[in-house]
Assembly symmetry: C2
Homo-oligomer: 254 residues x 2
């Protein structure tokens, strides 16, 4: 039975799992799960009976309702880092550099992935939520929470620039080839694409190595990287248009 990946391409961990599969020729069926709850969706979003049925089935597969979740035969697994490591270990087509057999290299990758959970993730996700996404999920924008998330985010970007991206290596931990950690962290950062462009540039301008590393990871996983991020790029265009429409004075001056 083919691997099943339950995912929402608007979720950054879902994108990381799908890209790993595609880059390494792992055959899988992708099952779309919409993360936003029915009542949280904007009124124009029609939830069909088919989608209700799908969500109902998913709750049997993962009672915690999290994506990405995979089903490999009878084996079910969620949490994206655990999935990335499992896929890299279970599918022989995945090249060693994604999750090396070497104990020390593997341990360092675990260390980056753990750091990600309590630093880059709350920083990036918290900032995007409280400056852009909240109204689309039925919540209010929260400037205090956004300021706190920005502190965590800039500290995380600084740690990436000065600590995890060592010397002139193209990837994390001084590596010449990407690992699951590069993929997970870059997909996390990519959500910042939905920010106002000036704001995004303000956040990133001090971190040149981070920008190069994102581009290195993108290039190493093309064309799949851009294909899987198409949903996010579409969302970015939508947010950009809305920002222009809400500032007609500014638009006419450009």
């Amino acid at each position: 039975m083919k691997l099943k990946v339950y995912a929402d391409r608007m979720s950054q961990p879902s994108r990381a799992v799908i890209i790993l599969c595609k880059v390494n020729g792992i055959e899988f069926d992708e099952v779309l799960i919409i993360l936003a709850k029915r009542q949280q969706l904007s009124p124009e979003f029609k939830v069909t009976d088919y989608m209700n049925l799908m969500v109902l089935c998913f709750s049997e597969i993962n009672p915690l309702g999290k994506v990405p979740t995979i089903v490999d035969g009878r084996f079910k697994l969620f949490e994206s880092h655990a999935i990335l490591i499992y896929l890299a270990s279970a599918f022989p087509s995945v090249a060693d550099h994604w999750y090396p057999n070497d104990l020390s290299k593997r341990a360092k990758i675990h260390s980056v992935l753990d750091w990600h959970h309590t630093n880059l993730r709350p920083g990036a996700a918290g900032y995007v939520m409280n400056t852009v996404l909240a109204p689309f999920l039925g919540r209010s924008l929260d400037s205090k929470a956004a300021a706190e998330a920005e502190k965590i985010l800039t500290k995380s970007l600084s740690t990436l620039e000065t600590f995890w991206l060592k010397g002139n290596a193209k990837f994390l931990l001084g590596s010449s080839q990407p690992s699951v950690a590069d993929l997970s962290l870059v997909c996390e950062i990519m959500q910042l694409q939905v920010l106002d462009e000036k704001d995004r540039l303000r956040l990133f301008s001090p971190y040149k190595k981070v920008e190069e590393w994102i581009e290195n990871t993108r290039k190493a996983t093309q064309p799949h990287f851009d294909v899987v991020h198409k949903t996010l790029y579409g969302a970015k265009d939508k947010f950009d248009k809305q920002r222009k429409m809400s500032k007609p004075g500014l638009q006419s001056k450009m």
Copy 2:
């Protein structure tokens, strides 16, 4: 060269690493690192020159200043989950059940550990910080942050009770023996010992399986569990005395 463990026994991830070493007969030198920064310590706490020197040396070992950190020969590693997995893989004396060779079992342990980062950890640590610890670190207690942390904590305890502790198994994931996940999560929960006893009982009373599981993990790692938690038990006594002294009316009624 003997393994070095840089730790603060008041930090729950430090305790998990030390207990794993002791239970499995891994020889190590423990180096005490005081987590609280000098300016954050209460005035009566004297920082000696020796301690300044120690903190200075530690910054060379881990520029991010996190504990636990280990040094094994020339190999340095931080993030407790990464360390637990490394030790269980690198030291043959560690029994298989702590981190099984079986790919599926291992993946499930990663899944619990990842879940811990974004659920139980912010819930437990956030609640203790904002109801007890903050004044001792030069910060103010924050009732709004405490209420938010309590929501995450109770949801996490409920998920442990109904999802991760399956059937009548003694440990997580339906296991009859503990893994690094049991050790990490139980050490996290143990910090709730410093709460007011009534408050702690209020939080835990709905979760009988969680209480049994904590006791199972404690018993499986004795006498080391209690020895390593001695610093925490001491802090608990101190906080209890302070609470009694600040409520003389209540004390006289008891």
